[in-house]
């Protein structure tokens, strides 16, 4: 076989479409089998314009009248399949006539893969977006259950190490006659009222620098000095307590259900930690917590009871009223002590 014959065989067999076209007339002088497979059979005198995507091919050809070479892409449908062919066109001179040398590569698969990647990327982006939203949701829930610093620690290490807090003040609050209220009212009403009240407490507490630890039914428990130290933790909690009562008094004048609270406050040491393996709860416990609930149960309705640990830390502008024979001091705003129901 001659070299020329081998060349021709090779040209036929390669996966590249090759055609020689007269630039002026668009008449095809030569096309290999691959070219024919893609654009349509080349039998005898076929013009480029008669092939699949003929119009686009002719446009490409026109460019060769002014340019020596260029590359372009044509897309067309062949048997319901979208084909995209990349064309490299060069102008050559043959016996005084301009001839276009078209070298074509089938890049349909690349286009299909590009489309698939686009589609997949969009799915992934949407998923990522959903996951981020979900994460924010979970974070919000967890931040309701533990202070941010504890949450950060939990996120980084998977655990929250118990910590001893030396100088903190604890406030516990519960409502008088809660059992009666539950009996007398629709549970939904009670829950919605408590929701209201606790939200107000949270807001007030936040203003003064208290961190709510938990609520359990009719008891509300907040603390100052955990997890971040607060200089005047006793004053902070005393102020919040007085504001809690003022809020309730005001609320009671305009609502059918009267909420009468007892508040107990104590200062000292507590331990803060996440408790529970499956159901994480950030909890605070220790002597100050126990003492706070002790004075809370001794305090009259709508009064703030101070344990000596806190009373010792408070001075002006509060009015302190020690109760004889008990480890209890009643707190009110100075200078005029407000006498409320006992």
């Amino acid at each position: 076989m001659s070299i020329a014959a081998i060349n021709e065989q090779l040209l036929r067999a390669i996966g590249v479409g090759v055609a020689l076209v007269k630039v002026k007339s668009g008449a095809i002088r030569y096309a290999n089998d691959t070219f024919g497979d893609w654009f349509g059979p080349i039998d005898g005198e076929v013009k480029l314009s008669e092939l699949l995507a003929g119009a686009e091919l002719m446009d490409a050809l026109k460019r060769l009248e002014t340019e020596d070479s260029f590359t372009s892409e044509v897309s067309f449908k062949r048997r319901r399949r979208s084909m995209t062919v990349a064309i490299e066109a060069n102008r050559a001179l043959d016996e005084g006539e301009d001839i276009a040398v078209l070298v074509c590569q089938n890049i349909s698969r690349i286009k299909e893969l590009e489309s698939m990647i686009d589609s997949y990327a969009m799915m992934v982006e949407r998923n990522t977006h959903e996951i981020r939203r979900e994460k924010e949701h979970v974070e919000k829930l967890l931040l309701n259950m533990m202070p941010r610093t504890a949450y950060e620690e939990y996120k980084s290490f998977g655990v929250v190490a118990p910590r001893l807090f030396q100088d903190v003040t604890v406030l516990t609050l519960s409502f008088a006659n809660f059992e009666q209220l539950i009996e007398d009212h629709d549970p939904a009403v009670i829950v919605s009222e408590l929701n209201d009240v606790y939200t107000a407490f949270d807001r007030i507490g936040e203003q003064f620098g208290c961190e709510r630890v938990r609520t359990a039914g009719d008891s509300y428990f907040t603390v100052s000095g955990v997890p971040d130290p607060v200089h005047d933790h006793a004053g902070t909690v005393a102020n919040a307590a007085l504001r809690f009562l003022r809020y309730l008094e005001q609320r009671n004048t305009s609502h059918p259900i009267k909420w009468n609270a007892r508040i107990g406050i104590a200062s000292g040491t507590v331990i803060g930690s996440v408790v529970g393996v499956q159901k994480y709860v950030y909890d605070v416990f220790g002597p100050a917590v126990t003492q706070a609930s002790e004075v809370q149960s001794m305090a009259p309705q709508m009064r703030v009871g101070l344990h000596p640990t806190t009373a010792a830390k408070l001075d002006t502008p509060y009015h302190l009223e020690p109760v004889a024979g008990q480890e209890l001091t009643l707190l009110s705003e100075a200078p005029v002590a407000k006498e409320t129901q006992t």
């Binding site: 319901r80 893969l113 489309s115 698939m116 799915m123």
Partner: protein, 119 residues
């Protein structure tokens, strides 16, 4: 949580190959191919990617309403649905998906028959 076929068979790396294979089969098939005569390639690929991915328990799940809307204009009969099911089966076999996983995928597909097929 047990792995979905999507995760088990290598995520998108495998799914992309399955998509391309199924795409070829669908277009070359004389029974179901004609449904795609007038569909643009990017749209069809997008559809197939989501289709295979969600059948295998990957990202992008179609809601049944979405599926119903997308096929609203097409007249699909049981024979077409069965043929497509065969093509999915063949394709999964080519990728050595275990028979029980194939059955699960086909089950997901079968569950939508009523939404798609004309009665």
């Amino acid at each position: 949580m047990s792995k979905t076929p999507y995760e088990k068979y290598g995520g998108f790396a495998t799914v992309s190959r399955i998509v391309m294979r199924l795409y070829d089969k669908l277009l070359d098939d004389d029974d179901v191919g004609p449904f795609f005569d007038d569909v643009d390639m990017p749209k069809l690929i997008d559809h197939q990617t989501k289709f295979v991915s969600s059948l295998m328990g990957g990202p992008a799940s179609f809601s049944d309403t979405h599926i119903a809307n997308a096929h609203h204009a097409l007249t699909i009969y049981d024979a077409h649905f069965d043929r497509l099911k065969e093509l999915i089966h063949e394709t999964l076999d080519e990728f050595s998906v275990e028979p029980e996983d194939t059955l699960a995928v086909l089950g997901e597909f079968e569950a939508r028959r009523e939404i798609l097929v004309e009665r």
